[in-house]
Point group: C3
């Protein structure tokens, strides 16, 4: 049940683009992802705070644990994933323990 | 103060099971953990959104930074940790800087 | 656009100290950071729950993706970053994909 060779992909992007990004992840074969709320962030466009009434500056973090193959598919789509204003994608190695198979 | 050989364990599970999971972590010797809210997630049971009035589909992410020894204790309990419907456990290597010892 | 040698630095600290910590990150050259809300956490001072009216026990997680050079600057300031009661800093290796340069 403990499997090495997996990748943890962390994406920070605008909430307005979140569905677009998870659609890309789904098409790339990701069997799962987790979306976390973000309080505030700083990037190339300055500091952004979530929670203003328009919601236009809201940001989310999407975490994907993917097999090496699915991770490669996802990274091949990085241009589309990173199309927004606020966008970063960071990849690290993880070992996964899980009941079901990826 | 900078110590290598630590593990970062990331667990995504149902909010209803969170206390059960942190009890297992505490018994395994984890000196600390951090619980983050989750907006939505996709897994083997489809997409789940937090925030419905029942709270029944709420999910949390629990992050544990543990010594190699404590991490091994935690991973030995992975069956109990992953007993819920929504559950994944991913482990990565980290270097830790901290005032207190683990 | 895919660059290795980056560090992911994860800091858990009190919400009241968050601005102090991000100021240190900015001065150390970090081009960006992401601040996440925390529901609850356990550390050397026991269990803390966010959301009490005073806000005094609120905790945040700050994630920084930094070049090796900026990460070294940040870690050189770890004493100031970890000055609070609740504080931990964990560092891992990441590969970064991003439109802009760090």
């Amino acid at each position: 049940m403990s499997e090495t060779g997996f990748k943890r992909i962390e994406i920070v992007t605008e909430a307005l683009r979140a569905k677009q990004v998870t659609d890309i992840l789904d098409k790339a074969g990701a069997t799962g992802w987790t979306m976390l709320p973000v309080l505030s962030g700083k990037g190339h466009h300055g500091v952004r705070h979530s929670g203003d009434p328009s919601g236009i500056s809201d940001t989310v973090m999407i975490v994907v644990i993917a097999s090496a193959e699915h991770a490669q598919n996802i990274m091949a789509k990085s241009d589309a994933i990173l199309a927004g204003r606020t966008a970063i994608l960071a990849v690290s190695d993880v070992t996964v323990i899980r009941k079901d198979r990826f």
